[in-house]
Structure formats: structure tokens, C-alpha cells
């Protein structure tokens, strides 16, 4: 029996694919199994192919693979779309009574289970439960105790009444029993359960949770795929912690509302995707020049322009590193996993306030909208630290006033960081502006002051390099002559790819870089490696360019920009090919 099990449900948008997939993922998680999900969806509300995939194992899983063991196919297209991943012995559950599925052909070597999903659902209380019947059938195929499904059904339907929960449980049992009685097959799968407690969440949710944990009280945003989950998560939750969410009229407004709240002293955030970042870039410069702490999340999707809104890409790196006219000090943090989405968000708020700068969180679709299991300790709130930087009060403010009693909000300091007075602080009255300004924040075109203010703002980056730890995360064999570097969500696939590569006798040293600016100096690692491969989901190798720039060394590239995240086994092949080519 294989160590991991890959399951999917596919059909048309509007078929309830997402909620069914989530119920199964939750059932597995609650049964103490690790889960990693992925979604294949189109940018439309109804119709069009959509799928929810679940990979599960007793050991942690951090990526998707090119393999599908059980597929619930609600449409014939579902089978076609997944043909490459299905293998001999794969089970396809379908409803032969459905007109479109009547003449469906099950590929050679695979097991087709015709289950009257709709009829059994109707008998249990309503046709709408046909997906749950399919889940019951999947439980039988994978030898997964159906009781584990019950608690997920209670979580999903509990608020709508016990009878609905009971009907769904009955529907699941109908599916299980039908397979057991009507299909005389032996299946290879056995999903054992454990006593472990896991939580199951996606990257957008982890970012929202990290924001609340960090004391963020204010969020302004405009809905955009795939960042909307952040806003939806915060709505209704942040209020319980004294905060508020504003849905703005557009992204220009969203970042300016968030900026206003930050000026008032609140920890404040906005989240969007590439097209929204384009609009926000105008105000990004103001945020930096007015030295306002603000966290801006970019959940990247395929670009340019509207590109492919529901598909993966890491194409906005250059925009986050260099976007905006003039020269702008900033931080760009790139969480490399779902749990890191939480911790990097916490860190983003601290960096924003310690250095009074905008901080980008570079997330991507592959991480943001898919779920993964973690032990709850991975989000231990006791480990959350809050550092508000140089905030002055009525007593300490005098030190920062000039001879006229005016507060120097943009004082020239050795570390580049000025004192910060929240509005309402007696004696702290000051203005800030996007114009070049003096220490009081007033407009100036004085050549000396211009240079001093530019240097002061840029000094924050140097200070941060001295004070903060921007190390990469290390995996694999540190002695290997093969160095692989990546950023963002590729970490999970790459850590598993290391195992595939090991099986083929290829060892690699893998550095996953969570800080994109300021970033770690990788010169030593790059110089001491024989082969260097930079892995990223874009066409031109934006991070590879940066590595070459930093280390003055040419690197090889593995790029994927078809809209789909790296699969672990596929990535292993790509890296092997890149290394072989480098050796020739």
C-alpha cells in the first residue's frame, strides 16, 4: 500500500465541489491524518471544470504529486482532465444514472464504481446530498471508518439543525453500503487513523490569523481573487478583538484608508493581488516617505493584466522589490509555507513599526487557497511578540522637540528610525507628507536636507540588516555540490522532491528564502556549489536574476508558468534534468 493517498472530486462549478472536498479533508484531519489540498478552479461562478484534491498520509505532506487513487467524477470531463494522474487500479466513482455519465468509459485498468448518487441521496432526504453519498462510497473504497466523516458533517451542517446532520450521515452510509454490497472489489487502500490533533487551514486564513495575533486592529481591502479569503476571514473575527474591516470602493481607497488608520496608531493591513498592487503603488511611495508602518499582502496570481485570476504564479517579485517611482525603502517578506504565512505576518507588523516602513508579504495562490494540516502548536500564540518600535508619550516627547517645542517626526537619527507620536499625544503635533520634507515633516527643497532624508530612510535597511535575522531555511544535504534555491510556496514541493531525488541517487542542498528584501547574502553558498538551480513559478526567473545580481554568479533556472504549482515528483525530474544539463 502506498504511503500516501490521493483523492479528488471534480465536476462543474456550482456542483458543491469545494465544500465536499473540504468535508473530506476535515474528516481526515480530525482522524489524525495529515492533509494537503489543492484546487483546480476557473474564474466563473457556475459551469466550467473545477476540482478539489486531497493528498493524505500519516506523516506530514507538503505538496501535491502526479497521482490520483480515487476520483469522484461528477462529469465526464473530470475523467479527461485527470487522465494523466490516474493509474492502474485507480477508482473512479460516478453516477451512471446521470444523463451525462450514462455512457462514460472507464479507462483500461481502472476500476469504475457506478453508484446511484442522486437516487441514494433522495432516499436519505434530498438530491443535494449526492456528494455526501459519494464521500461515503469513498470511505468504503479507502477503508476509512465512516464515523470520522460524521464529525466533519457535524461541523459543516451543525448550525443548520440536527436533522440535516442526521440526513447527511445517512446519505454517507448509503454510499458506503452500496459499494460494499453491490461492488465485488478488493481495494488497495486503508486509511488508518491516529490520535493526533491537527488543524486544517489555508494561507489566506493563516495570514488573517497572524494579523489578529499581532494586534492588527484595522483592515481595509477590495475583493480580488485569490486574496479575498484574508478579508473574509478577518470579517466577523477581528471585531471580537476590537478591530474593524472596511470594504473600500477600490484598491486606491483601500490602501489610503489603511494608511489613515496606521497614522492614527492602529496596526493596519491591506491585502490584494497583482492588479490591486498596481493601483496601490501610487500610495506605496507615500507610505514609505511619510514613514507610516503598513502591511500590504500580495497574494500573487498569473499576470500580467488580469492574466489568469485562479491560477498560480510568482510573477510580482520585481514589482514588490522595485515598484513605485523614485527610490523607496521597504521590506518584502515571502512566507514559504502556510504556517509561515502566520509567522511572517506577525513579523511584518513588527518590522513595519520598528522601522516605520511599508512591508510587503509576498504570498502566492498555491499557498493562499489550499489547506494543510498542522499541530495546533505550530500557531502557539504564546510565542507571538509585539514590538511597536520608537513610540513616544507625553513624558518622552520633549527629547524630540526643537527649541520651539515642535515635534521632529522625521528626525535624522543614526539608525534611520525617527520617534513616533500617535495623534492625540500632547506636544506631538506634526504633519507628514509625500513631498520631500525636513525633520518636522514640512516640505523642503533644500539640497542638503533632501540628501539627509533620503539617506536616513535608506539607513533603516542597513539597520535592519544588522539587527534582524534574514537567514534562509535549509534542507537536504548541506555538503552537496548541487544547490537549489527557491522562494514562496515551492518549499513544500521541493522538500519532497529531495526525497524523490535521493531515491535516484541525486543529493541536493536546498535553501528556501523567506526574506526577499532585505535578503540573505547567499554568495558563499553559491560560490561553493558546483551547480546552482533557482526554482520559481514565473517565466523569466525574477529571483534567479536577483541571486545572480547579489552573488555575481550565473545560475540555472527551473521555471513553471503554466498556472499550476510544482508537483513534488515533477519538480524532482525538472531539477534532475537541469543538473544533468549543467554537467554536460
Amino acid at each position: 500500500m502506498p504511503a500516501d493517498f490521493n483523492w479528488a472530486i471534480g465536476g462543474e462549478a456550482g456542483d458543491g465541489i469545494d465544500s465536499t472536498g473540504k468535508i473530506f479533508a476535515q474528516a481526515l484531519s480530525r482522524a489524525g491524518r495529515h492533509v494537503f489540498t489543492s484546487k483546480d478552479f476557473a474564474s466563473r461562478i457556475r459551469g466550467g471544470y473545477t476540482a478539489y484534491k486531497v493528498r493524505t498520509a500519516v506523516d506530514p505532506v507538503q505538496s501535491v504529486v502526479d497521482r490520483l487513487d480515487v476520483l469522484i467524477a461528477l462529469t465526464p470531463r473530470t475523467i479527461d482532465e485527470n487522465l494523466d494522474e490516474l493509474h492502474e487500479g485507480s477508482v473512479i466513482i460516478y453516477d451512471g444514472d446521470r444523463t451525462t455519465m450514462e455512457n462514460v468509459e472507464i479507462p483500461d485498468g481502472m476500476i469504475g464504481l457506478d453508484v446511484p448518487l442522486k437516487r441514494l441521496a433522495e432516499e436519505a432526504g434530498g438530491a443535494i446530498m449526492r456528494n455526501v453519498v459519494a464521500l461515503g462510497a469513498a470511505c468504503e473504497v479507502s477503508d476509512f471508518p465512516i464515523e470520522n466523516l460524521d464529525s466533519a458533517l457535524e461541523k459543516r451542517f451543525g448550525s443548520k439543525g440536527q436533522s440535516l446532520v442526521d440526513n447527511n450521515k445517512e446519505a454517507a452510509r448509503a454510499g458506503r453500503d452500496y459499494v460494499a454490497e453491490e461492488h465485488d472489489h478488493e481495494f488497495d487502500y486503508e486509511l488508518e487513523t491516529t490520535d493526533n490533533d491537527y488543524v486544517l487551514l489555508n494561507g489566506d486564513e493563516a495570514i488573517g490569523m497572524g494579523a489578529i495575533a499581532a494586534g492588527c486592529k484595522f483592515y481595509a481591502g477590495y475583493p480580488i481573487t485569490p486574496a479575498t479569503d484574508v478579508m473574509e476571514y478577518l470579517t466577523g473575527r477581528i471585531e471580537q478583538f476590537g478591530g474593524h474591516v472596511v470594504q473600500a470602493e477600490d484598491e486606491l481607497s483601500a490602501i489610503n484608508i489603511a494608511l489613515g488608520a496606521a497614522r492614527a496608531g492602529a496596526r493596519s493591513m491591506t491585502a490584494t493581488s497583482g492588479p490591486g498592487i498596481d493601483l496601490m503603488t501610487e500610495t506605496f511611495g507615500l507610505v514609505a516617505t511619510s514613514e507610516t508602518p503598513l502591511v500590504i499582502v500580495d497574494v500573487m496570481r498569473s499576470g500580467p493584466s488580469t492574466g489568469m485570476p485562479t491560477k498560480q504564479e510568482q510573477g510580482d517579485l520585481n514589482m514588490m522589490l522595485y515598484g513605485g517611482h523614485g527610490e523607496i525603502p521597504r521590506f518584502v517578506l515571502g512566507p514559504t509555507s502556510i504556517s509561515e504565512c502566520f509567522w511572517k505576518t506577525v513579523e511584518a507588523f513588527n518590522l513595519a513599526e520598528k522601522y516605520q516602513t511599508p512591508v510587503y508579504i509576498a504570498a502566492d495562490l498555491a499557498m493562499a487557497v489550499t489547506e494543510q494540516t498542522f499541530p495546533p502548536e505550530a500557531f502557539d500564540m504564546d510565542d507571538v511578540e509585539v514590538d511597536r518600535g520608537k513610540v513616544v508619550d507625553e513624558e518622552s516627547i520633549e527629547e524630540w522637540q526643537n527649541e520651539k517645542g515642535q515635534f521632529k517626526a522625521h528626525a535624522l537619527t543614526d539608525d534611520g528610525v525617527s520617534p513616533r507620536a500617535f495623534p492625540g499625544t500632547d506636544g506631538g503635533v506634526h504633519m507628514s507628507t509625500g513631498l520631500e520634507h525636513d525633520e518636522l515633516g514640512r516640505r523642503t527643497e533644500d539640497t542638503e536636507m533632501r540628501v539627509e532624508q533620503v539617506d536616513k530612510r535608506n539607513r533603516k535597511v542597513e539597520t535592519a540588516r544588522e539587527r534582524e535575522d534574514f537567514s534562509p531555511r535549509e534542507f537536504g544535504d548541506s555538503e552537496s555540490e548541487n544547490l537549489v534555491i527557491s522562494w514562496g510556496s515551492n518549499e513544500g514541493a521541493m522538500t519532497e522532491a529531495i526525497e524523490f531525488l535521493e531515491e535516484e541517487g541525486v543529493d541536493v542542498n536546498f535553501l528556501s528564502v523567506p526574506y526577499l528584501f532585505p535578503r540573505p547574502d547567499l554568495t558563499d553558498e553559491v560560490e561553493s556549489a558546483e551547480n546552482v538551480v533557482v526554482v520559481e513559478c514565473n517565466a523569466t526567473g525574477q529571483f534567479a536574476d536577483v541571486v545572480e545580481h547579489d552573488t555575481l554568479t550565473r545560475v540555472d533556472r527551473v521555471n513553471k508558468y503554466d498556472g499550476v504549482r510544482f508537483k513534488a515528483d515533477e519538480l524532482a525530474n525538472d531539477i534532475k534534468a537541469a543538473l544533468q544539463e549543467a554537467d554536460q
Binding site: V199, A220, F241, E249, L259, G265, M381, V384, M431, T433
Partner: protein, 287 residues
């Protein structure tokens, strides 16, 4: 807040670079008087401005202030006020800032009804870029970029506000100092979004909408016995293109400010030293 605040306390020691005779001097003085008269002091006041001649106001006034980007002052004010309801927030802009580049924000700020005051210095021209047509310029107003006039009807700011669901609409004339300050004061005291369009003549580039023009044509609605809580009467005045009105034109008695509607009554600058109490419940939700 203290009772011994004088309006000059809101004056900074920076000399304005507005042209001599600019209407913005009077507009600003009225704002400072209104702030002092409503019991505010610079430490609890936040002024937000955008770009253009009007945008310079934050430099010449003394308070907490942000001078932002063109057209986006209203969203900034919104964030400031919601994050700290204790602050008196005043947003200043020009006709280009408010009715052109920021028109979308204007409509939605009005809809949102945040308890702040929005003062628009309307001179019916772009001054700082040296005399191009603005959204409130007349159809036949000849400028460097519109030699035959814009040939488009001017935006009616009060009608735009009314159609967006405004709860307070007023118009004033910057040089009628006493009356202008009174009107801004009423806007500050209004529970909700107080919108004041101020005729603030540009003496350098606009030779049509001059002091003399406004002096001759202005009609004060208070003298006419206008009841600002009468919606139909307000609508009639606002859509009457034959006259220039001064005074509070419309004030809803049913205004509930955004913050009150959403229960926002605390200063959000105060946060815990670690994760807030009960944060672990957020994790358990994902079981």
C-alpha cells in the same frame, strides 16, 4: 480638549505660498475658527489634504496632519477617524481633487457617512498647474487646455453629494469670514459626514468666478428662511442652476455615523504586548 484654545493656535509658523488674495486664506481661517469654537485643540485634531493649492493647507495649519496624494484624502481621513474616534478629523481638498481624480472616493465617503468634515476649496480651475479647466469650470470657460471651453456641463457637487446619500450639505464663500466659519462649525457639529463646498476664488487664473461675481450673485438660504431638514426644499435649491447659494442646504435628522453604526468607539492604537487574550481560540476553530 480645552476651552482656552484660540483659533490662532491652529496656525503654523510657516508662511503660506498661496498667491496674495487667494480665496484659500479665508477658507483656512474659517476652518481654524470653527475648530476652536467647537472646543478642539491641535493635539486632538487631524487634517488630511491631497495635492494642489488646497493640499498645502496641512502645512499652514498646526495639528496632526497628513498631506497625501492627489484625490485620496477622503480615504485617509476615513482610516484616521475609524481607528481613533477621539480625533477631530477634517479633510480639505480642491475641486479637482474632490470631483475629478477623487470623485469615486467622494461618492463613497458620502455613502459611508464617517463623522468627519470635508471642506472643498472650489475655485473652478486648476491653479497649481497654472490654469486648466476643472470639473466645476463653466462650459465655455476658455483655458490653455480647453481653448473653446470644456464644452461639458460642470459637476454639481451638491447634487452629487445628495444623490450619494449625503447627510449634511453646505456651501459657503471664503471671504464672508463670519458666515463661512459658522457653516464649517455646523459641519463639524453634525453627527456624520459634513460636506462644505467653499467658493474660494483663484485670483490668478480665473477671471470669471471672481470675488465680485460671488458677492453679487450669492443668496444666503438662511435669509430666505430655508429649512435644511426639508429634503424637497433642499433638492430644489441644489438643482437650481440659476443661483449660487450659501448656507446649510441639507441636513438629515436621521444621520447615524459609520462609527456608531459599527460600534467603533475605542482608540485602536492601544494593543496588547503579545497575542490578544483568547487568540488560541482562533487556532481551535480550524480543528
Amino acid at each position: 480638549m480645552s476651552s482656552d484654545v484660540r483659533f490662532t493656535d491652529f496656525k503654523s509658523d510657516k508662511q503660506p505660498t498661496w498667491c496674495p488674495g487667494c480665496g484659500d486664506f479665508g477658507t483656512m481661517n474659517g476652518m481654524m475658527k470653527a475648530l476652536a469654537q467647537t472646543g478642539n485643540d491641535p493635539d486632538n485634531t487631524f487634517i488630511v489634504a491631497g495635492i494642489g493649492c488646497s493640499g498645502k493647507i496641512g502645512t499652514y495649519m498646526r495639528s496632526y496632519a497628513l498631506h497625501g496624494v492627489h484625490g485620496r484624502a477622503l480615504p485617509v481621513g476615513t482610516g484616521v477617524k475609524l481607528a481613533n474616534p477621539d480625533l477631530e478629523v477634517m479633510v480639505a481638498g480642491g475641486d479637482g481633487d474632490g470631483y475629478s481624480i477623487g470623485a469615486g472616493h467622494f461618492v463613497h465617503a458620502v455613502r459611508r457617512n464617517v463623522d468627519m468634515t470635508y471642506v472643498v476649496m472650489d475655485n473652478r480651475i486648476y491653479g497649481l498647474t497654472k490654469g486648466q479647466a476643472s470639473p466645476t469650470s463653466r462650459m465655455d470657460f476658455e483655458t490653455s487646455t480647453t481653448p473653446e471651453g470644456p464644452q461639458q456641463p460642470p459637476v454639481n457637487p451638491m447634487a452629487l453629494a445628495l444623490a450619494s446619500g449625503a447627510t449634511f450639505i453646505a456651501q459657503s464663500f471664503s471671504t464672508d469670514a463670519q458666515r463661512h466659519a459658522e457653516i464649517v462649525q455646523e459641519a463639524i457639529e453634525h453627527d456624520g459626514f459634513g460636506f462644505v463646498n467653499v467658493f474660494s476664488p483663484c485670483v490668478t487664473f480665473n477671471d470669471v468666478d471672481t470675488y465680485d461675481y460671488f458677492r453679487d450673485s450669492l443668496v444666503d438660504v438662511a435669509e430666505e428662511g430655508h429649512d435644511p431638514t426639508d429634503y424637497d426644499a433642499a433638492k430644489e435649491k441644489i438643482l437650481d442652476a440659476s443661483k449660487e447659494y450659501q448656507g446649510v442646504i441639507w441636513q438629515s435628522e436621521k444621520s447615524v455615523p459609520y462609527g456608531e453604526k459599527h460600534g467603533l468607539d475605542t482608540n485602536m492604537s492601544e494593543i496588547d504586548e503579545g497575542a490578544p487574550e483568547g487568540a488560541m481560540d482562533l487556532v481551535r476553530e480550524f480543528y
